[in-house]
């Protein structure tokens, strides 16, 4: 019951999705569409599970007065704030005339998205630039041919994407400046390497998917 039913579900759903690729007709196309909706609905509950778990952990931290419980309060407040606006304005928008979406410009949800969420996510990702650069400064050493190739390619791509690269190599003929070399690296050796990786991933994905559908791979069910 705990293992057999999930394995049966995986098999049936996996086969339906795989077969519907080859037979895009009834009943498979209908099943694919219905299961597509199921996928979205279950994904919504999965997101809810994650959010509720976050709340549960934060509340426990506050209850225990853990050292950093102040941050848990911030997590809960910011979560509730955007959820309130999202539900309230979403509900209001359905019954308004004309209807509007909770995401439309001028809504509280959009305001939080624009000034809080976007600012924080962009800065958070931007911060990685410094860490990647400092890590590479320590790790990048031209010890052998392979490491040197990596270093040179990264150097050309980075300098080819900024004006100083072309300024320094402006005396070279057209197409041989830093940006020209960067474009060539991106479109020739990089394409070759990416294709090899993509084909490798696709083959690996097919074999792993088959193992999952046939019930040979069961690690997703956990240890019990």
């Amino acid at each position: 019951m705990r293992r057999e039913i999930p394995i049966a579900i995986t098999f049936i759903v996996g086969v339906v999705f795989a077969v519907s690729y080859f037979i895009p007709r009834e009943p498979f196309s209908e099943f694919e569409s219905q299961f597509g909706d199921w996928f979205g609905i279950i994904a919504a509950f999965a997101i809810w599970l994650g959010a509720m778990n976050l709340m549960k952990i934060s509340i426990v931290k506050i209850g225990r007065k853990s050292p950093d419980y102040f941050y848990s309060i911030l997590i809960i407040v910011s979560f509730l704030m955007i959820v309130f606006f999202g539900f309230f304005e979403g509900y209001k928008g359905i019954y308004a005339d004309p209807q509007f979406s909770y995401r439309d410009a001028g809504t509280g949800f959009n305001w939080i998205y624009e000034y809080i969420y976007s600012s924080l996510s962009a800065t958070m990702f931007a911060l990685l630039a410094f860490f990647v650069a400092s890590a590479s400064y320590r790790a990048f050493r031209a010890r052998n041919l392979e490491a040197t190739l990596l270093l040179i390619s990264a150097f050309f791509v980075m300098f080819g994407r900024v004006p100083i690269g072309d300024m320094l190599t402006g005396w070279l003929p057209d197409g041989y400046t830093m940006s020209g070399w960067a474009n060539w690296i991106m479109s020739v050796p990089n394409t070759a390497g990416q294709r090899a990786i993509m084909i490798g991933i696709a083959l690996g994905l097919v074999s792993t998917s088959l193992r999952i559908i046939l019930g040979l791979e069961r690690s997703y069910l956990g240890g019990e």
Binding site: V77, V188, T191, S209
Partner: protein, 209 residues
């Protein structure tokens, strides 16, 4: 309200950047806000896009069989939430099995076509715009690089002799790819950082017109 938003965004941006100096209260506070807002954002978005649109609107006026089908999806979704309770947590395996099965079945074919067939086709089919000698050399280089890269990933035969040589060439192409990906990632992050500085010095302080 817009001005307040700009000031708040500037404060949050500085709070995150302050981590470059050292871990501090302002950064941790901004991080906590980011975690809460992100979770809430997806919580709301998935509710309206999937639960409301696909389920609630889906059952309106639908045939009984379709309604039952949608209710079954909700039942599976609710089972997902049982993971929060230790005793009945095993029930969450059913919806998880559905997600895993659907992903495996769907991606098995779509990825195979888009990532294997299409890429192999593009590697062995000369493009119609191949006019100069440079284009022809590039086409041959891509074909050699892809083939040698694949040989490197083939572990069922020992990398020795001509096979090992080809695998070595494959490594060179892969190293150039990793370097290019690294450079590209750094520059995209730099571009984001420039965007944030542009916001701070332009929209917030008004120093950049």
């Amino acid at each position: 309200m817009e001005q307040f938003g700009i000031w708040l965004a500037a404060l949050l941006t500085i709070g995150i950047i302050s981590f470059l100096y050292k871990d501090n209260i302002l950064y941790k506070a901004c991080e906590a806000i980011f975690v809460g807002v992100s979770a809430g954002y997806w919580f709301v978005t998935y509710f309206w896009d999937n639960l409301y649109r696909k389920f609630y609107l889906g059952i309106q006026g639908a045939e009984l069989s379709d309604q039952i089908f949608l209710w079954m999806a909700v039942a599976l979704g609710v089972m997902m939430l049982t993971r929060l309770f230790d005793k009945i947590g095993w029930l969450s395996r059913w919806p998880l099995a559905f997600i895993i099965g659907a992903t495996a079945g769907l991606y098995m074919m779509t990825y195979f076509v888009s990532n294997a067939f299409v890429q192999i086709g593009a590697t062995i089919t000369p493009p119609p715009s191949m006019e100069t000698i440079g284009d022809k050399i590039s086409f041959v280089l891509i074909a050699i690089g892809t083939f040698c890269g694949l040989i490197y990933f083939f572990f069922s035969k020992e990398h020795k002799g001509a096979f090992g040589g080809a695998a070595k060439v494959g490594i060179w192409f892969l190293m150039v790819t990793f370097g290019a990906s690294f450079g590209y990632t750094v520059m995209s992050r730099m571009s984001l950082m420039l965007g944030r500085f542009d916001f701070l010095f332009g929209e917030w302080l008004g120093l950049i017109k």
